[in-house]
C-alpha cells in the first residue's frame, strides 16, 4: 500500500501516538482527524475533550468547528466552558493536548498570534485560543504541522504557547512539571525532544522521505537521531477508516442545513 498522501501519513502517525487510556484535548483540523481515527481503530476508549465543553465526544463525522452540535449529541456530558478550563484542563486531568501553529522553533515554542511586530503585524493570526494553557497543563503535548521553512523557523516572532522555552531550559525553570512537546508529527517525519537539551530532533522519517528533504524544509539546522527510524506506512485499516471518516465529513459539511430558520 503506497497510495496515500503526506497529510494522510501525518494524521495516521499522530493517531498512533494516542493510547486507549489517554484523555485528549482536541483542536480542529488535523488533531481532530487523528484523535477520531485513533478512536475508530486501535484506541476505542480514547477520551476526547473539545474546549467547547464536550467531554467524551464520539462524533461520527469530524466537526468543522470545536462547537458543532454533533459533539454535544455524542458526548458523555457537555459542561460550561469555564468548567472545562478550570476543572478539566487546569485540574490536570488531560493526558495529551494537541497543538499546531503558524510557526514552531526547535524547542517546540509555537506562534499562532502574529507574523511581524505585535503592534503592527504583517499577518494577524487567530491568536492563542486554548493553546497557552494546553501547553502547560496537559501531561504531554503533541504538535502537528506541515513541514516547511515558513513554519519550522529558527526563531518564532511571538511565543503564543510555550514549548521548552527560547533556549530549551525555560520550561523547567518556570517550575512546570508537565512534559511539554513530546512529539511533533509533520507530513515528512517525526521529531522528539533530545534528552537534556530538549531540542527537537528527527527520530523517524516517513516512507520515501530522505534527510535532505527534511533539512531543506526546516528553518534551523535540524539534527537526526542516531537511531533514526522509518515510520510504518499506513495500514489498510488506518487508511480506509480515515478516508471513510473524511468522506462522511465532506458529505455532512456540504449540506446546507437551515432547518428551522
Amino acid at each position: 500500500m503506497n497510495d496515500y498522501t503526506p497529510t494522510e501519513m501525518m494524521t495516521i502517525s499522530a493517531s498512533r501516538a494516542l493510547s486507549n487510556d489517554d484523555v485528549c484535548f482536541v483542536g480542529i483540523g488535523a488533531p481532530s482527524a487523528a484523535c477520531n481515527l485513533a478512536r475508530l481503530t486501535h484506541a476505542p476508549d480514547l477520551t476526547l475533550i473539545y474546549e467547547s465543553g464536550t467531554v467524551g465526544a464520539r462524533p461520527d463525522v469530524l466537526p468543522l468547528s470545536i462547537g458543532d452540535g454533533e459533539l454535544a449529541e455524542t458526548s458523555l456530558t457537555t459542561v460550561a466552558v469555564p468548567e472545562i478550563f478550570q476543572y478539566w484542563l487546569q485540574g490536570g486531568r488531560i493526558t495529551v493536548g494537541f497543538l499546531g501553529g503558524a510557526e514552531m522553533d526547535r524547542y517546540g515554542n509555537l506562534n499562532t498570534t502574529v507574523i511581524g511586530p505585535y503592534d503592527s503585524p504583517r499577518v494577524r493570526l487567530p491568536g492563542g485560543g486554548g493553546a497557552p494553557e494546553i501547553a502547560s497543563s496537559c501531561g504531554r503535548v503533541f504538535i502537528t504541522m506541515r513541514h516547511s521553512t515558513r513554519g519550522m523557523v529558527d526563531k518564532v516572532d511571538f511565543v503564543t504557547s510555550l514549548g521548552f522555552g527560547p533556549t530549551g531550559a525555560e520550561r523547567a525553570a518556570l517550575g512546570i512539571t508537565t512534559r511539554g512537546p513530546a512529539l511533533v508529527i509533520t507530513d515528512l517525519c517525526l521529531l522528539e525532544p533530545e534528552p537534556v537539551t530538549n531540542e527537537l530532533i528527527v527520530t523517524s522519517l516517513h516512507p520515501g522521505v530522505d534527510r535532505g528533504q527534511v533539512a531543506d524544509a526546516t528553518g534551523w539546522d535540524v539534527r537526526f537521531a542516531s537511531d533514526l527510524g522509518e515510520t510504518e506506512p499506513p495500514t489498510e485499516l488506518e487508511l480506509g477508516t480515515l478516508r471513510d471518516l473524511q468522506r462522511r465529513t465532506d458529505e455532512a459539511h456540504s449540506e446546507v442545513r437551515r432547518d428551522g430558520v
Binding site: 483540523g29 467547547s52 468547528s65 458543532d68 460550561a80 498570534t113 446546507v256 442545513r257 432547518d259 428551522g260
Partner: protein, 270 residues
Amino acid sequence: MPDFVSLPDAISATVRDGHTVALEGFTHLIPFAAGHEIIRQGRRDLTLIRMTPDLLYDQMIGAGCARRVVFSWGGNPGVGSLHRFRDAVENGWPHPIEIEEHSHAAMANAWAAGAAGLPFAAFRGYMGSSLPAVNPRIASVTCPFTGEELAAIPAHRPDVGIIHAQRADRDGNVLIEGIVGVQKEAALAAGMAVVTVEEVVDDLAAPSMNSTVLPGWAVDKIVVAPGGSWPSYTHGYSHRDNAYYKAWDEIARDRDRFLQWLAENVMAAS
C-alpha cells in the same frame, strides 16, 4: 421579570455608543440577529468582548461598530482567517481598532469572575507566553499559602450582555441547552442582559432539574428571534450553516464585496 420587546427596541434601549458589549455563544447560539441590529442602528466606539470573535464580530468590525476588541481566538473555525478583523488590525480599515488579547482560559475565568461579582480572576496560565508582555491587563497574584504565583486578569463586566437561547417561558425564564459555553456567565456579568430566543412557551420543559436556566428576574430584555443564531445554530432548533461559514471567506476577503454584502444582507434586512 424582563420586558418582552422587539429586537430593534431591545437594542436601542440597551446599547449606546461607547458601551462595552458582549455577544457571546461558543460556536453554538451566537446571537447574529442581535449583532446585525446593532450594525443597523449604527452604534460606534463599542468595546466588543467575545472569546471567539467569529463571523459576527468580523461583520461588526467591518461595519465600523468597534473601537476595541477583547478576545482569545479570532478565526473562522475550520476555514481560516477573519478578513475584516485582520484588515482592521493590519491596515486600520475601516478605522484602527485596539485589541486586548487573552487566552481562552483567561477569558473563561474572566467571565466566571464577572458573574461572581469579583474584580479579578486568578488561574494558572500564560506560563512562558509572550502575551503578558503585550497585554497590560494580565497581572499576577501570589498564593498566600504556597507562594505560587498565578496569572490574574480583570473580570469581564460589560454594560450589555447579549445571548441567544432555545426558549423562554412567559415569566421570562430562559433555557439554555447543549454547548452552553459562557452564556450564563455573560448574562450574569453584564449590567443589562438581553436574550434572543427561538420561541416563548407556556412550559419551559427543561429536561432536568439541573438544566441551565436563567431566571427571568436576572434578565432585562427578551426578544423572540427565531433563527436568531443563524449561521450559527440552536441545538434542537437548527443546524450550523457550515456552507455560510465557508462562503464567508470569499465575501470578507474583499472590502467592496463585504460592503455590498452588508448593504444587501444587513442594512436592507430587518
